[in-house]
Symmetry: C2
Subunit: 496 residues, 2 copies
């Protein structure tokens, strides 16, 4: 019998055979009479948090039902929410606070039964939509595809149960054109099949700008948003709903003319960021070749306001968005709009960013020589400073390359205890790791703890070692100090 393991508690749950959870849903709704019902589809990094944001709406008390699939990867989240354990580790105290309040209010339920959509005034679509990177040549991305079958099935599941006057708000990052070409026809087809009118439902798109980290909740509630509807009535309904959960005294809502526009806006935004990172990657390699310090150059250039978004070099891109959104855009341009042109700058960004851990590895070998048999400690496995998110972290590739080259690794991260993608336990005590008998320390994530003077003192206490800063975490002062004893190399800087 299939089970699903809670990644936080390691508790194993039996996955039920039947999808019938109607008793729990009806009981929940009987306790939440006269509240509008918001159903959040998908309980991942966005949906789980969106659920508690809705359950703590600013101007209305909603009955919120989070829906996910009853499979190995997601069933445990449903159980965990209902058992009172929020299915994400976060250092934003508001997460716990909001979750607790929704439990006290009794206005949050999680379920796997799609019958939940039947009761929804609002359905928020927060499921994943992945890109499959099919082939590469010498590290350069050659072929990729977007498989919409899972997404279509999810929308069908909404359409098969929803009321004819439901408001569907798509938040998933989708290929531009998806609401018009995919969501709208599916919903209308399902309504028609059930003999219902297609004149009353409303559909729109608005994307979140969630940032896992200490301001997780605020990054939803207090961050400007764009939105659109497939017609004016839909746009009005989306606006009215967003006004109940977003603090518009702090941030603006901007209406765009069409769902194509908001969908494009999201992937454009992330493509811009991915491009800036990939640009830094190429110049960091050039600056290493020319023996100069890219950080100093970037600082000098950023003094110009027109150049303030120029980025520092780094180990690459991680997370769920920047690694795929430019590809969604490119795919849509060809598939939905029949263009024979690529978005070459955006697609090349993803390809370059994916190669960066390989470049970082090359430099490690160039500077420190053969690493076979060496013991190498990595400080940080998440893809972002002070965040415990390891999805698509570039550190994964670098660790694999280092291990493939015959080195042994020790991994540290204060925000990650278990690294799911690598199935590895992660050290949490920095003091211990810095005292270990290792040959090389690789600084691979920008966690504040690594910049602390305590960490530097600890490093200075030990025998000579090799230190490879892949993200420019160390200050010039710290580098000078460390260089008195250790060999220090910084990615994006020529010889120090």
């Amino acid at each position: 019998m299939a089970t699903s393991v809670n990644l936080l508690t390691q508790q194993a749950y039996q996955i039920p055979d039947s999808l019938d959870d109607s008793e729990a849903i009806e009981e929940f709704l009987s306790r939440n009479k006269e509240k509008k019902v918001v159903v959040v589809q998908g309980l991942g990094f966005v949906g789980a948090v969106m659920s508690i944001v809705c359950a703590n709406a600013l101007t209305e008390e909603y009955a919120v039902i989070g829906v996910d699939l009853a499979n190995e990867n997601t069933y445990w989240k449903i159980k965990s929410i209902n058992d009172g354990i929020f299915p994400l580790i976060s250092d934003d105290p508001k997460i716990e606070e909001f979750f607790e309040r929704s439990r006290e209010q009794g206005n949050l339920l999680a379920t796997y039964d799609p019958v939940a959509y039947k009761y929804a005034d609002v359905v928020i679509v927060d499921i994943n939509l992945d890109v499959k990177k099919i082939s590469e040549e010498c590290g350069v991305l050659k072929e990729f595809d977007v498989d919409l079958s899972g997404f279509k099935a999810a929308i069908r599941s909404v359409g098969a149960h929803c009321r004819d006057n439901v408001l569907v708000l798509v938040e998933t990052t989708v290929p531009p054109g998806t609401c018009e070409n995919i969501v709208k026809p599916i919903i209308e087809d399902q309504l028609t099949q059930r003999g219902l009118t297609t004149a009353k439902y409303r559909l729109g798109h608005s994307y979140e700008r969630v940032m896992p980290g200490p301001e997780y909740i605020d990054s939803i509630r207090e961050f400007p948003r764009v939105y659109s509807g497939c017609n004016v009535a839909s746009a009005d309904a989306i606006e009215a709903f967003l006004n109940t959960i977003i603090d518009t005294s702090i941030c603006d809502l901007t209406r765009l003319e069409h769902t194509n526009a908001t969908e494009m806006c999201k992937v454009l935004e992330n493509s811009y960021r991915a491009m800036n990172i990939s640009f830094a990657i190429e110049w960091s390699r050039f600056s290493e070749e020319a023996g100069v310090d890219l950080y100093a150059m970037v600082n000098a250039i950023r003094a110009r306001k027109t150049h303030a978004n120029l980025m520092y070099p780094g180990i690459g891109v991680g997370g769920y968005c920047l690694t795929k959104d430019p590809l969604l855009a490119s795919w849509a341009r060809k598939s939905f709009f029949g263009s024979d042109s690529d978005l070459s700058m955006s697609v090349n960004s993803v390809s370059l960013n994916d190669q960066m851990p390989g470049f970082a590895f090359e430099r490690l070998i160039n500077v420190f020589g053969d690493i076979a048999g060496l013991k190498i400690a990595f400080l940080g496995v998440s893809y972002r400073g002070d965040v415990g998110d390891t999805r698509f972290t570039p550190v994964e590739k670098l660790v694999r390359l280092v291990e493939d080259a015959g080195a042994n690794t020790v991994l540290h991260d204060p925000y990650v205890s278990y690294w799911q993608e690598m199935d590895r336990r992660i050290e949490s005590c920095l003091d211990t790791v810095l005292s270990l008998d290792v040959d090389v320390i690789v600084i691979s994530a920008g966690h504040s703890e690594y910049k602390s003077s305590k960490a530097i003192v600890k490093l200075l206490e030990r025998e000579s070692i090799k230190i490879y800063d892949t993200i420019g975490l160390l200050s010039n002062e710290q580098i000078s100090l460390l260089q008195e004893k250790h060999k220090v190399s910084v990615l994006g800087r020529g010889d120090l």
Copy 2:
């Protein structure tokens, strides 16, 4: 006998047979005894202005000699300066003011005689260094090269005459590595050949950020600068010199560690800008295909500080820098540093930007149909708003494409009376052009005059016409007004 025509006055000068101008130089120096001598090599858009900035230095009165070649393209500039006509049209009133003051002081001379370098305390190198775009396939840049022979000859000319304790400041945008690999060996070789010591000369690099336009002078004097020297004594000397001409109470001087670094900094800075423009190009085409408004998206995204440099779409890139600097970088990476990797993001930027006028033409045809036999007016031929600079303007390509398609053109620009590259007279009266019997008006440069309500009123007075705004100059309000009567299309916007 060869002549050189003054582009401002149309006066033709006979080019002298002999390079001997020593009498004028000696007379000039006898009038400027005890002043330090600054020789500016190159009297183009940077050198000419740099000459008057140095002649009006903040803390010292220099004797300034501008040197250029006695050939058809440049000899007239020498004559023009000595005759009291500054060889550039500019709407910066300081240009005339600085030039007049240097004439009153008698501390500015222009010459073609390289013997001038013999007297220099400081030589500032402000000559051009071009990239040759060799081949393309379907508009995509395939092959390019950098020919250093002219640059090398210029440096040899300095080295052949200069004192052994000269300070050479290279301001030309060069492939990173040029000071170290080209300038230094040539100067040392020339000094050695003349039996002089190579221990005393000083050499460094600092790039200007000149912006032709109403703040031409301030863009040199009051804009932050980076600089470097080939050794510490050189860097110190450069710093001391810059302090005499740059207003460091307003802007910072930043020392970088190596000439490689400042040289790279310049091309990095411009590559970043070129990349942002090319990014907008691809997305503007996508937004047209998807029928949405890229301007609205960019506005929504720019609300994020991390995305503030995202650019609006446009007709392409012009000017002397962005069209070639990324290629200088790529060339240097391979030629000076032996890398087998390209700077793909930067090189692709140039290629895309070069294609943009072609894309703008395609859209013109798509929206307005066949243009054969039509009369089309272009508003603006320069590459930048409120500036009269036509070097590499993208309007040139668009005009040629339109004419090749069988249309007749009328060209207007308030800042350009004669378009050198096209050998065309340019209309200067907007009223007249807007009253002409034309079929299409293309807004092709962002001059303020075109945005004025007077221009809009004039447009509304006439019969229905087609208006193609290639640079997003019109406001939404203006578009609504114009649409009542005319067919309006904006590049980067779907159907309005």
